[in-house]
């Protein structure tokens, strides 16, 4: 147990290290572009999200909801040995499922939003299962398959929305509003964070984080999925149906990404499926969030909130005549360094050992093994 905790601690430490380096690089960029305003600008990044009190915090949670889920999708697949780079496609296909049900299936009354959310999960799951099936039966690399499915998903959704009259808002070149019954209820979030866009979707995201955590760490199903991820041959030897595991793992990852799309487009904040040839950014943010959260569900939860926090703060950078792209640079640097998590981890371990050695040398009877 002690050992396990120790590992978690260094993993978190490497993420925090990456964050610090990322922020420092951000400061450097600010200094280079306008050194007079750099410090207040930097301060804004760090605290901007809080300037408007509960509303600001609510807004952070609103931004965090989809990227926590796409992060979870990528992280979950990664834990089971698969690199799901197709979160973007699953996200938009899931969003389409939600919007489709949200606009057309008005007969469900107060359960309408639930049906729409379920539709997003199903659509995402189907989209995610395709690379899983290709991998399991034809040994097609899931990275390539899921990248391609990002584009197929995006264009298919654009085409369908544009081509199917009841869904399409001709004037604005985007999908129509979903019925108000399909919007996610606030679930009390409006009392906690009055005036913000956050809704029950954030609570659903947290619930999914917990479910994924339990599945991965407490169930025999998670045991199988991880075993297949670590060693496909040994899993086969142990009688695990490794093809089924791969497909299920990608299906679940797709379902979670699809849910992310559903929750965002059902939030009732004026989000519509726009007909543009651009992959959903939330999918790729998911990769960042998963990396920063070292693919652990709880880590991903915090990483998602953190990145949303920076994004919200960065919005106010415009007050100082900086462009918000600086936030993207900072996030990119953070991700860049958290991708070096392993290297950082070994550096930390080395540093620690040196420190211990010194301590031992200095005090001949020094007890170096005292760990935090």
């Amino acid at each position: 147990m002690k050992h396990k905790k120790h590992i978690d601690y260094t993993a978190a430490a490497s993420s925090i290290f990456a964050i610090i380096i990322g922020l420092l690089v951000g400061l450097l960029v600010l200094l280079l572009s306008n050194y007079r305003q750099a410090l207040p600008g930097f301060f804004t990044i760090l605290t901007g999200a809080l300037t408007r009190g509960p509303k600001g915090i609510g807004q952070v949670f609103y931004y965090a909801t989809p990227i926590i889920l796409t992060g979870l999708s990528v992280g979950f697949a990664f834990k089971t040995g698969l690199f799901n780079i197709g979160a973007s496609g699953q996200f938009i296909v899931g969003a389409f499922g939600a919007v489709f049900v949200g606009i057309l299936f008005k007969g469900f009354g107060s359960a309408h939003w639930i049906v729409a959310v379920i539709a997003s999960i199903l659509f995402g799951a189907i989209w995610g299962s395709i690379p899983g099936i290709l991998k399991a039966y034809f040994n097609v690399n899931e990275v390539i398959a899921s990248i391609m499915l990002n584009y197929i998903g995006m264009y298919a959704v654009n085409w369908t929305v544009k081509g199917y009259k009841p869904l399409f808002n001709n004037l604005r070149n985007e999908s129509k509003n979903v019925a108000t019954t399909a919007e996610i209820p606030k679930m009390g979030m409006d009392y906690l964070f009055p005036g913000s866009s956050v809704n029950g979707g954030f609570l659903i995201a947290i619930l999914v984080v917990i479910i994924i955590y339990i599945v991965l760490h407490k169930t025999t199903f998670g045991y199988e999925l991880k075993a297949v991820g670590y060693n496909r041959n040994a899993s086969k030897y142990a009688g695990i149906n490794e093809k089924k595991s791969i497909i299920l793992s990608m299906t679940i990852a797709g379902a979670v990404s699809g849910l992310a799309g559903g929750l965002l487009y059902l939030a009732g904040t004026g989000k519509h499926i726009e007909i543009v040839d651009r992959l959903a950014a939330e999918g790729f943010s998911g990769i960042s969030v998963a990396l920063l959260g070292v693919c652990h569900p709880i880590g991903i939860l915090f990483a998602g909130i953190f990145i949303a926090y920076l994004t919200a703060g960065g919005f106010y950078l415009q007050l100082y005549e900086f462009s918000t792209e600086i936030i993207d640079i900072i996030i990119a640097v953070i991700i860049y360094f958290s991708a070096f998590a392993l290297m950082v981890r070994s550096l930390l371990a080395k540093f620690k050992k040196q420190k211990e050695n010194k301590a031992v040398k200095k005090a001949a009877i020094g007890e170096g093994g005292n760990k935090a």
């Binding site: 147990m1 169930t219 025999t220 060693n231 041959n233 040994a234 899993s235 142990a238 009688g239 050992k353």
Partner: protein
């Protein structure tokens, strides 16, 4: 000084372990010096230090009387030190010639000039009696030949200090004999040889002196002619070791495993062929049947066919009278079949899982450990602790240890414990002691005999003649996918068995075993 290499008081530490603790190794010019030790004794670390892969914390290295600072393999090579690795470092779709010159190709204006290299290689192979065809592809020549290529690689680089890392593990008895001869010839030509092994027979046969390591410590250096195998093994293990397996006579019971007319086709390098051909045999309760043969004669595929890892083309496998031919792997695993796989890293363990998780790899889904889809971690932990205690599995952090960080012997014990605890009626053990040291071998052999005495049917696949002769009640020899002999270990000699394995001798009438 007459010493060509001196490693003096080498100490190398890794986090939490002292891999080499004040070790001194002195190699005389023109001698064969054996380096003996169990797995984890520090042999590989010591050699890595010599090759500059690790820098020692203390100690120094002298080559030919002068202090040398070795920062990497290139430095070592420049000092004339060469090594034949246990797993050969050859490019399989290159020819022998190309492999030998790889890295130091002779060129003219950027164009390869192979003729000089070819001449030199032919001259070297004549001088040392190392005949190989320079234009043959590595993938087409035998393992013994591949080893010769490795030796030629060292000679081509004018190395005069040659290190052999467990060179006999992959060879047949005849090939081992030839290798020994080659080693002797090399020393008469002035080369010095460092020979890493844990096989005592070979040390007795070929080495002049022997340095023994145990758990990172230097135990001593002895002149081989003045010592015997018992003493060497005691130095290595630190206690008295029983080198032969004690086994009572036992009359085998009813048939447990029955294999009839089994065929397995396999795709290899583009074309399909029968890798297991019309194989039929039986294994009875309370007997150890050993499948002997040189690696790659269909043993792996046969075992995979029995366990369901590979599909069969035709034939029938029955266990306790039940036809298993079409059953799933899980069904076989839960209906009396246990399997100690050939490759413990590929099949036997999920290396990134901890010890406890690996110990339940075949049972996590059973009622004992599984409640409504949730893993009962308390039950898993209890069970793991029980097995760790019972089978003396040693590791850094008990059941929480990642199996990747455990020694080979303890990894193997983990698998053996897991498979035996299932109380199988048939135990398939494929090279169960591969790469293990004397202590672990003794342990696992005892455990197999214990299972046999308890009424388990054991099918043992082994490449090691000692193991075959010591352990088995009956020997089946496999050659090119067929069973070519069904022998009684008491009536066959080592040499005869070697001839069967090499395919140069076949039984006149094929026994339906």
């Amino acid at each position: 000084m007459e010493y060509i290499i001196e490693m003096l008081n080498i100490t190398k530490e890794f986090p939490g372990i002292v891999a080499n603790d004040d070790i001194t190794l002195q190699l005389k010019k023109g001698e064969i010096h054996a380096l003996l030790g169990e797995n984890g004794a520090g042999k590989s670390t010591l050699m890595s230090v010599l090759f500059g892969l690790y820098q020692p914390e203390k100690g120094m290295i002298k080559v030919k009387g002068t202090f040398a600072s070795i920062k990497g393999p290139l430095d070592a090579n420049a000092l004339g030190i060469g090594m034949v690795h246990q797993h050969f470092k050859l490019v399989h779709n290159f020819t022998v010639l190309q492999n030998i010159v790889l890295g130091i190709e002779t060129t003219k204006n950027g164009i390869l000039k192979m003729d000089d290299a070819r001449e030199k290689i032919v001259a070297l192979s004549e001088r040392y009696n190392l005949f190989v065809d320079p234009d043959a592809y590595i993938s087409d020549i035998t393992v013994g030949m591949q080893q010769r290529v490795e030796i030629l690689k060292m000679l081509y680089r004018d190395n005069d200090i040659l290190i052999f890392d467990e060179p006999t593990a992959v060879l047949t008895p005849q090939e081992i004999e030839e290798l020994m001869q080659i080693m002797r010839e090399l020393t008469t030509e002035g080369k010095s040889i460092l020979f890493i092994t844990h096989k005592l027979n070979e040390i007795k046969a070929v080495a002049d002196r022997c340095t023994v390591l145990r758990r990172g410590k230097y135990i001593g250096t002895v002149t081989v002619s003045e010592t015997d195998k018992k003493m060497l093994s005691e130095m290595m293990v630190g206690r008295k070791v029983n080198l032969t397996v004690d086994k009572q006579e036992k009359e085998p019971g009813e048939v447990v495993l029955k294999v009839s007319n089994l065929n397995v086709m396999s795709k290899r390098e583009g074309h399909t062929r029968n890798v297991v051909e019309d194989v039929s045999f039986e294994v009875r309760k309370g007997e150890i049947v050993c499948i002997a043969g040189i690696d790659g004669n269909g043993q792996t595929e046969l075992v995979h066919a029995l366990t369901g890892l590979e599909s069969i083309t035709s034939g029938c496998v029955t266990l306790n009278g039940e036809d298993l031919t079409k059953k799933s792997i899980r069904y076989r695993n839960t209906h009396g079949m246990s399997h100690i796989p050939e490759d413990r890293h590929k099949h036997g363990l999920v290396l990134d899982y901890n010890l406890a998780y690996n110990l339940v790899l075949q049972q996590y889904f059973e009622k004992e450990f599984n409640q409504l889809g949730f893993l009962k971690s308390d039950a898993v932990n209890q069970y793991a602790d029980l097995l760790i205690e019972k089978y003396d599995i040693r590791s850094g952090q008990g059941r929480e240890t990642k199996t990747r960080s455990m020694s080979g012997g303890n990894q193997q014990k983990t698998i053996v414990a897991r498979e035996i605890m299932k109380d199988p009626s048939l135990l398939l053990a494929v090279q169960p002691v591969r790469g293990l040291d004397v202590g672990a071998i003794e342990y696992i052999h005892k455990e197999l005999v214990k299972q046999r005495d308890a009424g388990c049917a054991i099918l043992l696949v082994s490449l090691e003649l000692d193991e075959v002769m010591n352990l088995s009640d009956r020997i089946l020899v496999m050659f090119e996918g067929r069973i070519v002999a069904n022998l009684n270990p008491k009536e066959v000699t080592f040499n005869e068995l070697g001839l069967y394995m090499a395919g140069s001798k076949r039984e006149e009438k094929r026994h339906e075993a």
